[in-house]
């Protein structure tokens, strides 16, 4: 069986070069607007930057995927159509999309453009994946983070496409592309604007020895003097239920499925994806090179070497997330 393909994030041209240099097989990025799900200030690529990124990657035998994975707004498809057209024109190796209407557009307008199904489409069963393959010729699915390794194995056996899974980075505990928590608190959402818990709505307020983090009108966490204050992503906040305060949805952890490489291989997974287009180039270089070495060692020996990712793991804690049944 072919070696795992390592798919790495880039929010800037510098991060893209860092990912390629550190051993990414493919790098994914987005245009600087609401057409992608990491529409954060200071991130993403102009058309010229994408053209240069494609040249840089192709010269080294690597690929560039362009994420156009938000849901086009009614009455305003233009930015999304231009993103697809420009990705095709500039030589992207694939576009990663979620919206049925936009996939239909891309399949008709650019029949030779390789289509990947974004995690934001939340295609979690063979029937859903088959729909995208049959209707639009989608060749790869990025699975939503709601499946156990056993579920994935059952799915790859029946899905007519390559399967890509997240192995490292920020973890959505909710099914991606089906979450309106952010817009409930702020009016801005991943599906519409490509943002989750946007920085424009974040406030940190000192209160005695404590620091309160707020999003929109809601307190997301309260940190004691001895606690590091994390970013108030809604689903990683501390809330009270049943008379008890806790990280009800998910702790502020990083997904790290490195130890599961043998199981993911046995499950028929084709590509491994690292989350983090909002991360700096040093982080990207560190995570990508670590994963590259681990994958290469695993492919050679069949065992996963012990590697140190503690420096880049959020809150210094990691989890295998939904891949393990006990997470549920």
């Amino acid at each position: 069986m072919a070696s795992f393909e390592l798919i790495c994030p880039a929010g800037t041209p510098a991060a893209l070069r860092a990912a390629v240099d550190a051993g990414a097989d493919a790098v994914y990025c987005g245009f600087r607007d609401e057409t992608n799900a990491r529409n954060f200030p200071g991130l993403n690529f102009s058309r010229d930057e994408l053209a240069e990124a494609v040249r840089y990657a192709h010269a080294r035998g690597r690929k560039v995927f362009v994420a156009i994975n938000t849901y086009p707004a009614a009455g305003n498809a233009g930015p999304w159509h231009r993103a697809v057209d420009d990705a095709a024109r500039l030589g992207a190796d694939a576009v990663i999309m979620a919206d049925l209407g936009l996939l239909d557009y891309a399949a008709r307008k650019h029949p030779d453009l390789r289509l990947h199904l974004s995690v934001q489409a939340s295609a979690a069963n063979p029937e859903a994946i088959g729909l995208f393959h049959e209707a639009f010729g989608v060749q790869r699915v990025v699975l939503p983070r709601v499946l156990t390794v056993a579920d994935i194995k059952g799915l790859t056996a029946q899905a007519p496409v390559e399967v890509e899974v997240f192995v490292f980075g920020g973890l959505c505990p909710m099914a991606e592309g089906r979450c309106s928590l952010s817009s409930y608190a702020t009016g801005l959402s991943p599906n519409k604007q490509g943002v989750c818990s946007p920085a424009s709505h974040v406030r940190y307020e000192p209160r005695g020895d404590e620091l309160v983090s707020r999003l929109g009108g809601f307190t997301v966490n309260v940190f004691g003097a001895d606690e590091p204050a994390g970013y108030p992503t809604l689903c990683k906040g501390r809330f009270a239920a049943q008379g008890r305060a806790s990280y009800l949805f998910e702790e502020p952890t990083s997904l790290n499925a490195l130890a599961l490489l043998p199981e993911l291989k046995a499950a028929g997974v084709h590509a491994l994806k690292i989350e983090g287009r909002q991360r700096g180039k040093a982080y990207i270089a560190s995570v990508v090179s670590t994963y590259r070495q681990a994958i290469d060692a695993f492919e050679r020996s069949g065992t996963v070497p012990h590697v140190d990712l503690d420096a880049v793991i959020e809150g210094s804690r990691d989890t295998a997330g939904a891949y393990q049944r006990s997470w549920r």
Binding site: P72, N125, A128, N191, C235
Partner: protein, 308 residues
């Protein structure tokens, strides 16, 4: 404006005891002025067996009362058992099915069906694509603001597709593989003891500053606030929205549906209905922020001012 307005009742999202569930639908059949009733356990497949035996009787009761019965498919389908359940649902030939995931959309191609609010329909191209495959009505996600509803309703009219908007009840905000009800009780999904049954309208989730925020319903997270678009009914109708969905709660749904029926028929004003609903629901305030392109938790009053 020529399309008659239908009042529709979405599926019960919560884990009600089967007797309560059966009695609820009996009363809906006898007393509620709703045209369409959507049935089915859409949140958690572990609950579905409790309702299977009662389902035929409830369908018959509602049908005899002149209601159109629709069967809703689950939101999240991952296991073999869940896939088999969807196949069984699709095999139902005498009732309309509402697809709530893309796997169900795939399997319903080529026959008339409904597309539920858990399938992402954000733009005209997606709506057109679904219409071409047999969708006769699309229930839009509550996250969509008024300009999107307007554009989608206009496109739907060109395809003869009816557009539905939720106008009452807590808003589903997220679905997960993880059970937060179990987690809040120190349990896991596999050994959940069905603790979701303790909260018939969802489990209260507050911020650390004791602000009410969300409501957990097993794998699902909903708004704390109750969506109410009673004051927006005329605007929705003018856009071409013709189906108005009420999401069931333990509040008197016969009275809720009667109020909306009165508003649709012009017997009462929308603002008057909203005020009466606010008085009926003491556990949470009303909200309509999504429609007005604000935070979903906000309530925009007749003066355009938002409160939260």
């Amino acid at each position: 404006m020529t399309t008659p307005s239908l009042l529709t009742l979405g599926p019960v999202l919560f884990n009600w005891p089967v007797d309560q569930w059966r009695d609820f639908y009996a009363r809906i059949a006898d007393e509620a002025p709703v045209d369409v009733v959507t049935l089915g356990e859409v949140v958690c497949s572990k609950r579905a067996p409790f309702f299977e035996d009662a389902l035929p009787e409830v369908i018959e009761r509602l049908t005899d009362a002149g209601k159109q019965v629709v069967l809703a498919s689950p939101i999240l389908v991952t296991t073999e058992r869940e896939r088999a359940a969807v196949r069984g649902l699709i095999g139902t030939e005498d009732l309309l099915v509402e697809a709530n995931d893309l796997g169900a959309v795939a399997q319903l191609a080529g026959r008339p069906h409904l597309v539920g609010p858990f399938v992402n329909v954000y733009n005209e191209a997606t709506l057109t694509w679904l219409a071409a495959r047999g969708a006769t009505a699309v229930s839009l996600a509550p996250e969509l603001p008024a300009p999107s509803l307007k554009a989608l309703a206009a496109e739907a009219a060109r395809h003869g597709v009816a557009v539905e908007a939720q106008v009452f009840g807590r808003v589903p905000l997220a679905i997960s593989a993880r059970c937060y009800h179990a987690r809040a009780h120190g349990l896991h999904k596999d050994g959940c003891q069905f603790v979701c049954g303790q909260d018939a309208d969802g489990m209260d989730v507050e911020t650390l500053d004791a602000q009410p925020f969300l409501a957990v319903n097993g794998l699902q997270t909903l708004s704390h606030t109750y969506l109410c678009l009673a004051s927006e009914l005329d605007e929705l109708r003018a856009m071409g929205v013709s189906r108005f969905r009420l999401s069931p709660h333990t509040v008197d749904m016969v009275r809720v549906s009667s109020l909306f029926r009165d508003a649709l028929d012009g017997r009462r004003g929308g603002a008057e209905v909203a005020a009466e609903l606010a008085g009926m629901i003491d556990r949470a305030p009303l909200a309509n922020g999504f429609f007005h392109d604000r935070a979903g938790a906000a309530f925009v009053g007749g003066d355009g001012a938002a409160a939260m």
